[in-house]
Symmetry: C2
Amino acid sequence: MREVALLAGVSVKTVSNVVNNYQHVRPETRARVQHAIAELGYRPNQSARGLRYGRTGVIGLAVPELRLNYFAELADAVIDAAEARGLNVIIGQLGGDRDREVTVLTEGLRQTDGLLFSPERLGIEDRHLLEKVRYPVVLLGERIFGGPTDHVSIHNSTAARAAVEHLVAQGRRRIAVVGTHPDAREGQVRPSDLRLEGYREALAAAGIPRDRRLERPAAPWHPQNGADATRDLLATGVDFDAVFALNDMLALGVLRALGEAHRRVPDDVAVIGFDNVDAGRFTVPSLSSIDPGREEIARTAVDMLVERMDRHVPVQRPPRLHKARFRVVVRESSGGGTEQPA
Amino acid sequence: MREVALLAGVSVKTVSNVVNNYQHVRPETRARVQHAIAELGYRPNQSARGLRYGRTGVIGLAVPELRLNYFAELADAVIDAAEARGLNVIIGQLGGDRDREVTVLTEGLRQTDGLLFSPERLGIEDRHLLEKVRYPVVLLGERIFGGPTDHVSIHNSTAARAAVEHLVAQGRRRIAVVGTHPDAREGQVRPSDLRLEGYREALAAAGIPRDRRLERPAAPWHPQNGADATRDLLATGVDFDAVFALNDMLALGVLRALGEAHRRVPDDVAVIGFDNVDAGRFTVPSLSSIDPGREEIARTAVDMLVERMDRHVPVQRPPRLHKARFRVVVRESSGGGTEQPA
DNA sequence: GTGAAAGCGCTAACAA
DNA sequence: TTGTTAGCGCTTTCAC
């Protein structure tokens, strides 16, 4: 910067003014400075700026794994939402490692002003960790509720109920659910429990008796486990005409296992998933699902974080919980077929 | 930091020593400082560190879109490779926007020491842009060759040839290719051209005459376009017993269109893709593909970048081109089926 | 409209 | 083993 000032024959302050688009700089001076900048290939040192401003303009996003479609699509949306506010995003992978989740949460990601945190292992019982965090955090997901931070989540049970109600509306009565986690611990709330709850509510509302043989455990939620659970279900010989997979990855496995067993989808068995990942649009048949409103989640979370990072906010607001709007997306696997195949 | 020093009754330097795990600190002093740190919730200011060190410890990764499986999986691998070297990663999405690619390349991502750059629009003709870049850049992908920076790429034509040779080895003779880009411009080298070249080489080597009706254009490489191209191919009525999709996204669409047309895979038509994205493991039938060695790509690229960022490297090395090892992954869609389905 | 100087938080060099 | 000082590159304040 000093060199630029020297070359342009001005002070560093004027260079700074030009770089920051300060209004009151004579056009001629501005041009001379810009020329010098180009000449020397000067790039402002962002660390120095960050030091001066007290903020880096970078936020962190911590997710389990980027190769899981859901999180890749979430990260995509978060990056775009952050960009719209002039922020960059550092992405950290937690990798299903509890210790790592604790470390990232308590220390934050380097060089960031705040963190969007989507844990996979931490639960309600770790809520106290959030109390101690010294920088702005917005929580994503369903693992922890009632913490001291802002939180963006989805209508798990309501959306699950809507999914099953859709199956019921298609005339299905023997509706299996794949992906339950039977080893519930007291105080733990997991997406699987909430979605199962919605499933049961929908059955009850339709006057369909619950049949525990139709509730199949599968964890973690990967296609392999969805396929295995479906094979188990088929092996029991119990009758069913629909499957609600608790997420789309499971649903991919369900479709696969049904295909292997020559059950036609949706004729013999209707299938609906949860998350509406891109992959579901490309299967044969295409997969019905619940769209959790990823753009809304990303936008809201970034907005909340920005607000918490902003020191100008006079009063510290109490923590907010935002649940994004969801949507039932009907595709071929549940008898829709109106939507363009891909 | 001053406050911590005050509370612990030491100088800021000692606090610094403790924070940086400097060896020669008396255990008792260290404990006192650590206590003060915990007490005050002190977190080192990374901007100040970055300013002092002349580096931020953050690198940038610029890719077209994170929701495209290939790039999500690449980003996953890059983040892990960077983490292994103590670096964080800021991810920028280029979104198929040429101007944005130019901006990101020339300005870099904020707060980063270097950039891994995987453009989608810039081509050979933009090589000169790379000349002007004032910070370490490693190029990823197949769009630009012969530039002044290090470059990590894959054996496009060789791998494509191996894919088609695999189909030939399965006894296929009427092998279609989906995903060509017919509007070649002079001097442009695109992955599609390189892979098509490999396809033709394999046919020639097997003594199979080339049939232009079997070369189907599709762009961009999305499932929808793969499906459309396959439907077109089917509509022409020309005979074929295998399809080489130039990437896996196209292949998903190919599988879909074949399924709709009741062509059995692999019995009637064998299919192989390129990229080996996770999604290919979960289709019915599972998808054969070319594994481009993502871990190797990520590791090599990060290593090269780190080396260029390191001022201790005495001589500036000439630009290097590393082509990662690939692997033909045989799954059900090309008559394999030995690999575990999911 | 432009310049001079102070200081953001940290660590390397040196001193004690 | 610990303390003091200078300065990394920038922007803010206050002169001019």
